[in-house]
């Protein structure tokens, strides 16, 4: 039995592309044992290091999903840039959405070290083969939704990303470190928007509570299904691609967010929510996983719209990308 690993080469190096190594079963087992030991010892894996094909595939799936989420995530918030209620808010929101493009770019770059071009990843997104975070399939209906997204959605993302910054794959971990640093203000601006609304007029307070009601549960779903139902969790944990269970991270998010909501007078839309003194955690109600599964499989309120927006941008930009490449090619040819 032979095993083909395309990953001995840095895929960015054309000189090595296509170099394939065939390993015997013994050699493969030995390398896997070394790889596992390396991860257990807290070492990072770098692009040119040998890695099991499943590790590469799982990472690629996770990282491309993450990058897609950043890029699709620009849309619901981008929806309010031209309607932001002050010049200062407009600038902050535009900078935040722009950061998301940047973060998508960083993560795509990190994923490209695993041997897949950004163009291929984008094709997978647009063909519906690759997924992105379910949260972005909900509409932004009022200005308060921009506050709710910054506070809850970015808050949840930060919990996730802080952990991912310690993951075993070097390029991903480094991208996460930079992203965490940059995203600090995202969460704060969202909370500030909510705080301003809650100390404003009755209409503003209603707007904020309405956004809270609509975004609370989808934000909890962002951490993914309970680990007992999460098909990829065991492998990912062993390889330190994932360091905490979905449920742990969700709990961490709830414990941190509930007091923030209370501080500005927002009600959490969950009748079962209560503090448990003995576990020192909040107990909370049942998440509607049927809804989550529907949204993830393409049947959410905005799935079609988001995909159309991304596809349109991609298609409307094709002639631009081609023109720039054609111009470069002409210039390069005329130099020769």
């Amino acid at each position: 039995m032979h095993f083909v690993n395309r990953n001995l080469a840095n895929p960015k190096q054309t000189s090595n592309i296509g170099m394939e190594t065939t390993l015997s079963v013994e050699e493969l087992n030995k390398r896997e044992a070394e790889f596992d030991a390396k991860i257990a010892g807290g070492k990072t894996i770098e692009p040119k290091d040998w890695m099991p094909e499943r590790y590469r595939k799982q990472l690629l799936r996770m990282m491309s999903q993450h990058a897609h989420s950043e890029v699709v995530g620009m849309l619901p918030e981008g929806n309010w840039i031209t309607r932001a209620p002050s010049l200062a808010r407009k600038a902050v929101l535009l900078a935040k959405v722009q950061d998301e493009a940047g973060h998508g770019l960083y993560i795509y770059s990190a994923a490209e070290t695993l041997g897949m071009d950004r163009s291929e990843m984008i094709d997978q997104l647009l063909s519906g083969k690759a997924k992105y975070s379910s949260i972005f399939n909900y509409p932004t209906l009022s200005w308060a939704d921009i506050g709710a997204i910054g506070w809850l959605v970015d808050g949840a993302a930060i919990v996730n990303q802080t952990v991912l910054a310690k993951c075993s794959y070097g390029p991903y971990s480094r991208a996460m470190l930079r992203i965490c640093k940059e995203e600090n203000f995202h969460n704060k601006q969202g909370y500030q928007i909510m705080a301003y609304l809650m100390r404003g007029t009755k209409e503003q307070r209603d707007m904020a509570q309405d956004a809270m009601n609509r975004f609370w549960w989808p934000a909890l779903m962002m951490f993914g299904p309970s680990d007992t139902n999460s098909p990829n969790s065991a492998d990912l944990m062993k390889w330190k691609v994932k360091l905490n269970s979905n449920d742990d991270l969700r709990q961490r998010f709830i414990d941190r967010t509930v007091p923030q909501a209370e501080a500005i007078g927002l009600r959490i839309p969950d009748d079962k929510l209560k503090w448990n003194e003995s576990t020192r955690h909040y107990e909370f109600g049942e998440i509607n996983w049927a809804e989550f599964n529907q949204v993830i499989s393409g049947n959410g309120p905005c799935n079609k719209l988001r995909m159309k927006q991304r596809t349109d941008a991609h298609n409307n930009g094709a002639w631009v990308r081609e023109a720039a490449a054609a111009y470069s090619a002409k210039k390069a040819a005329s130099k020769k």
């Binding site: 001995l8 840095n10 960015k12 190096q13 054309t14 000189s15 770098e46 040119k48 290091d49 040998w50 900078a95 722009q98 950061d99 940047g102 770019l105 960083y106 770059s109 490209e112 071009d117 950004r118 163009s119 291929e120 984008i122 094709d123 930079r178 940059e182 094709a318 990308r321 081609e322 720039a324 490449a325 054609a326 111009y327 470069s328 090619a329 210039k331 390069a332």
Partner: protein, 98 residues
């Protein structure tokens, strides 16, 4: 340009954070040529980073050592401690001058 390569080639970006310091790797951008790579690098990595100079290099032009090279490339320096100043002990009774 073919359909499956519509994102332009990758360039690695190096930024000199301040006058006198060395260029550091900042990340990558996609661009069809050097001029646009430079503009894109400025827009992507200049959002927060302060800098005084920028290099962009086609990713394909970078030749990297392999993990197998670690031993022969880096280990032989291990037994050449005489390259380090603290290898040299000043004999007793002589005043330390630096």
């Amino acid at each position: 340009m073919s359909d499956n390569n519509h994102q332009w080639p990758i360039w690695e970006v190096f930024i000199q954070p301040k006058n006198g310091s060395a260029h550091e790797h900042a990340g990558s951008v996609h661009a069809p040529d050097g001029e646009m790579a430079l503009l894109n690098a400025r827009d992507v990595y200049g959002r927060r980073l302060e800098g005084v100079n920028m290099w962009v290099v086609p990713a394909t032009a970078i030749v990297a050592s392999t993990p197998e090279d670690v031993g022969p490339f880096f280990d032989p320096a291990n037994d050449k401690m005489y390259r380090w100043p603290n290898y040299f002990k000043t004999p007793e009774g002589i005043k330390q001058i630096s």
